[in-house]
């Protein structure tokens, strides 16, 4: 590709120069605002209150989005925003997993607030360039690039008509275009989407990082909730950040020694324990595939089942054999977890890049399921190729897989047929048809246009057209709040059902993963126990998203003596690492593990009330599809009849003898649905919310989050 010829077609639309200041204890104390409708570029100050109440990352994103939009703003209104923010810890290089950013926007899928976390270099680079958050509002007329030039301290909006859109090509083009030479490639970071984001509501953002060993651009994804669709709707082709290099203490932390000491401890754990624990360096999160199958948790055939005899074909060892071994695979500098695995020189067999040899980033665990078992496809080559295309086309692999499972079950039940799918025979296991459908989304044609709407809108559409029983569609369509479920079967863990459906943004496991604690360990048997877990873990994990941290180093390797601690599930030594690092970065010596939870609570409650402001955020929005809680079909019940019959006898107190399967399904359903309602009551109480799931004013006062704009929203919803 002729980079110079492409660049020549750029036309500067706007330019804004700024004075650069060194970061002070993790903060620039200003954010960048870019409006693509009127081409305004400016900085906004970050107040002391903003740092105290919102901290950074997702907190900053939510605050800016609240201020920038109205309760009625739709995802494709010009005033919708995309905010990308790291957080105070983001960008340190002495501890693993410290380069994350959080993307926040109004989602085309849920019509409410979406947040999605992502690795790659853009979060740290935009911070090093001078900004604690990048806030983009408005819509361009034509495709543009936003260039944050941290070397010459200016921000530009450029007409960019000639660049390709698919991320694996665009990333390479822009890294070359904006670097001085090959050595400088590592100082560029790109955010982009892809052609499927133009034609679907499940568009995703790709964040690049330069892989110095491979001399290639790699991609990490902010997948959930369609933020890539918003990005392309604003006609953004890319946001580029450039800096003049990463040095040891660009965050100007207060106590670098303390961070280095904790970093060394962690690195020793990775060196000595990873092979005995999760094998993250060899397999990444794909090590979980066979484990989830063993525990009946791997989604098979649209979450009907949790295991399959062919799952050995997608065993973690199989993924290891595909991944290039012994190369540093961190998606941020200094990360020793090194889990961003890659399949090198992979020759594509379909689509517009057929015959090309590419690097495929992943698959991670979620993708081994979503582009595999959930569709009844146990073929690593399908998964790898579909992973590549989802990434470069800019669509979320998790959502796409759950969509695929849904349409396949609809097809097998006659709700869809060849006429309705345009001839695609979407049976479980049909890899060719599944791949064709994916390419259709990118081309914006055929049934791909319908599938790209996501599960909720398909359910509504099919019901409207009289295709299938609406109740059955509701039961098997694995979405909540409009977002597709991520890849764990939650039927046997009531706590995980809450961990999914009670989330602020929709069912993603980044708030809570409680299945082992609940289902296997039986550590949280009462509703109160589950409620405590559904308070602590979502709050604790929210904190990563305020700081620019990756969750994986918290518990994907654990200190050797973790078993001897009081609360091994919380990994106390690693929690202490984070407390130490936060204090060492910001100098806030009053901080401790309790304040960590309170920081998160403030932002978590703000997000809940933000949902309420938009007409959501109450009990009815925490309802789950029944498939998440129990067996919908006769086939499903009978596949695990021994388990369900035993539970009926021992837990429900009903003798299953002589009952038809349909009768047993109904009895089980009544019991499980009732238990879920009791769980909601217990969790709302623990979180300081009303029975309708609205934060109580007294609770906001207790956590010092009783902002007038929040009280105004909730004051008429306090009945309990």
């Amino acid at each position: 590709m002729n980079i110079e010829a492409i660049k020549k077609q750029h036309k500067q639309i706007a330019e804004w120069k700024y004075e650069w200041h060194p970061i002070d204890k993790g903060y620039n104390n200003r954010t960048l605002y870019v409006n693509l409708s009127n081409n305004e570029i400016k900085e906004k100050p970050v107040s002391k209150e903003m740092k105290e109440k919102f901290v950074g990352g997702k907190g900053f994103g939510l605050r800016l989005l609240w201020d920038g939009t109205k309760p009625t703003t739709k995802w494709n209104d010009p005033e919708n925003e995309i905010i990308i923010s790291g957080g105070p810890i983001c960008g340190i290089t002495q501890y693993s997993g410290t380069g994350k950013a959080l993307c926040v926007s109004i989602s085309p899928q849920t019509d409410s607030i979406m947040d999605s976390n992502v690795g790659g270099f853009f979060g740290p680079f935009s911070k090093f360039a001078g900004f604690d958050a990048v806030e983009v509002q408005g819509k361009a007329d034509k495709d543009v690039i936003i260039f944050i030039d941290g070397v010459n301290h200016k921000v530009e909006i450029l007409d960019a008509p000639a660049e390709p859109i698919d991320s694996h090509v665009l990333g390479e083009v822009l890294h070359e275009m904006y670097s001085d030479d090959e050595k400088d490639r590592k100082n560029v970071a790109v955010v982009s989407a892809g052609t499927a984001a133009d034609h679907s509501l499940i568009g995703m953002l790709n964040f690049t990082f330069w892989d110095n060993k491979r001399k290639l651009v790699r991609l990490k994804q902010a997948g959930r909730g369609g933020i890539g669709t918003v990005f392309r709707d604003k006609k953004i082709k890319a946001i580029v950040a450039k800096i003049d290099g990463v040095k040891g203490n660009l965050n100007n932390v207060v106590d670098l020694e303390a961070i280095m000491e904790r970093g060394k401890r962690f690195n020793r754990e990775m060196r000595e324990l990873d092979d005995k624990q999760c094998e993250m360096k060899k397999k990444g999160t794909a090590h979980l595939t066979n484990i989830m199958n063993d525990y009946d948790l791997l989604p098979v055939h649209n979450f009907k089942f949790g295991s399959h005899p062919d799952a050995n074909k997608i065993h973690g060892d199989v993924w290891q054999s595909y991944f290039t071994q012994g190369v540093p695979d961190g998606c941020w500098i200094g990360c020793n977890m090194s889990c961003a695995k890659g399949v090198d020189n992979y020759e594509l067999r379909s689509g517009p890049y057929k015959g090309d040899k590419v690097i495929v980033d992943g698959p991670e665990y979620e993708t081994t399921s979503s582009l595999g078992s959930i569709a009844g496809i146990f073929n690593p080559d399908f998964t790898i190729e579909a992973n590549f295309y989802c990434d470069t086309y800019g669509i979320c692999t998790i959502s796409w897989g759950t969509i695929l499972g849904f349409v396949m079950e609809c097809y097998e039940n006659g709700i869809l047929n060849d006429e309705r799918t345009g001839g695609l025979k979407l049976n479980f296991g049909n890899a060719d048809a599944a791949m064709d459908l994916l390419h259709q989304v990118a081309k914006g044609e055929g049934f791909g246009l319908i599938a790209g709407l996501g599960v909720r809108k398909m359910k509504e559409l099919f019901a409207e057209k009289g295709w299938g029983d609406p109740q059955f569609l509701q039961d098997i369509g694995m979405e909540n709040k409009g977002l597709e479920y991520s890849q764990y079967v939650s039927k046997e863990s009531l706590a995980q059902q809450g961990g999914y459906a009670m989330t602020n943004k929709g069912p993603q496991h980044d708030e809570a993963w409680l299945i082992f604690m609940d289902m296997v360990n039986n550590q949280i048997p009462t509703f109160e126990d589950k409620a405590e877990a559904l308070h602590y873990f979502p709050m604790f994990r929210t904190w990563f998203g305020l700081q620019g941290l990756c969750k994986l180093p918290w518990n994907d390797v654990e200190p050797e003596n973790n078993a001897q601690t009081d609360e091994p599930a919380k990994v106390p030594e690693h929690v202490d690492n984070y407390v130490t690092i936060y204090k060492a970065v910001t100098g806030n010596q009053n901080f401790d593990k309790y304040e960590m939870i309170t920081q998160s609570e403030r932002v978590y409650n703000f997000q809940r009330i933000f949902n309420l402001r938009r007409g959501y955020g109450t009990r009815k929005h925490d309802a789950q599809p029944y498939r998440a809680a129990g067996p919908v079909t006769v086939e499903e019940y009978e596949s695990r009849a021994e388990r369900y019959d035993k539970q009926m006898k021992e837990l429900i107190g009903v003798d299953p003898e002589g009952k038809t399967t349909e009768e047993k399904i109904a009895i089980t359903r009544k019991y499980r649905e009732n238990r879920y309602e009791q769980l909601l009551d217990a969790v709302y109480l623990r979180r300081g919310w009303t029975k309708n799931g609205v934060p109580k004013i007294e609770h906001l006062k207790k956590i010092k989050m009783d902002l007038p704009e929040l009280i105004e929203i909730i004051k008429d919803h306090q009945e309990d």
Binding site: Q277, C278, L288, Y365, N522, Q523, N555, N562, A563
Partner: protein
Amino acid sequence: MKIILNNRTEVFDKNNMSISEIMEIKNFSYQKIIVKLNNIIIEKEDFKNTIVKEGDNLVILHLLAGG
């Protein structure tokens, strides 16, 4: 034999089984676990030769990972 496994009553066909045998029957393949027999931590290398008897209290705690 009847034992308590993770706070639930479990019945196995055989008496006097090793921890490894029980884990195999339960399909507990996950590596990051803590095992306690009658409140005493059992190291991984002792799973094969530690025998669980009628009435014992066995905890096989699976720690979180992934996501």
